[in-house]
């Protein structure tokens, strides 16, 4: 069965510093991996995805994520954090086969960027 884990409930970082939000996954075959962000009282918004190709994926708002097959990880990164990046971040995985058609979400990591 496919699954995704976000080991940190909260990540705190000072504005201007680099940030990393961690995600590991378990899926048979090659995964489809996603990051979504949720601002307060809003629905989830797509940030980026990895399907195939370059392991470094660039997304919205200056975020990027690196797919590491050997470590089964897909960590979200940004070189310089902004206070406005403070939000709840969800990693999600979908298997590649027709029968694995559901997007499985992690439990979320709250990112707090301090001025």
């Amino acid at each position: 069965a496919q699954s995704v884990a976000q080991p940190e409930d909260q990540v705190n970082v000072a504005e201007g510093n680099p940030l990393t939000v961690k995600c590991t996954y378990s899926v048979s075959g090659n995964p489809y991996l996603f990051w979504y962000v949720q601002y307060p009282n809003r629905g989830l918004q797509f940030l980026l995805k990895y399907i195939t190709g370059d392991n470094l994926v660039k997304g919205s708002y200056g975020f990027e994520a690196e797919f590491n097959k050997s470590q089964t990880s897909f960590h979200l990164k940004k070189p310089s954090a902004l206070v406005s990046d403070s939000a709840l971040y969800f990693c999600a995985v979908r298997g590649p086969s027709y029968n694995t058609d559901k997007l499985i979400f992690g439990t979320g990591t709250r990112l707090q960027v301090f001025p």
Binding site: D9, Y32, F34, Y36, N41, R42, G43, L44, Q45, F46, K49, I51, F90, R94, P96, D101, K102, L103, F105, G106, T107, G108
Partner: protein, 113 residues
């Protein structure tokens, strides 16, 4: 485009009452989904639909029903509300299934007392 819209934004129900959460999308997406979000639990898939007239159960379907009579609408029905159904409900849609971005509505906050 309005994207994915949900009504109501907030509702309080008494135990045993029923209600329908409305969801509509104007992007001509074939696939639609209902999730519930509980604190610290991420999102759990309740039901999904791959097209008009076709629905299937997700991870936590008990206590809910859905229908998909049109491409645009995907209502979620709670027949006998229970406190365990207190949650935030999100509707989402995507054009296809594999490797496609899902677009989420703003959510409906439901409190069952």
């Amino acid at each position: 485009n309005a994207g994915v819209t949900q009504t109501p934004k907030f509702r309080i129900l008494k135990i045993g009452q029923s209600m329908t959460l409305q969801c509509a999308q104007d992007m001509n997406h074939n696939y639609m989904y209902w999730y519930r979000q509980d604190p610290g639990m991420g999102l759990k898939l309740i039901y999904y639909s791959v097209g008009a007239g076709i629905t299937d159960k997700g991870e936590v379907p008990n206590g809910y029903n859905v229908s998909r009579s049109t491409t645009e609408d995907f209502p979620l029905r709670l027949e006998l509300a229970a406190p365990s159904q207190t949650s935030v409900y999100f509707c989402a849609s995507s054009y296809s299934l594999q490797a496609e971005t899902q677009y989420f509505g703003p959510g409906t906050r439901l409190l069952v007392l």
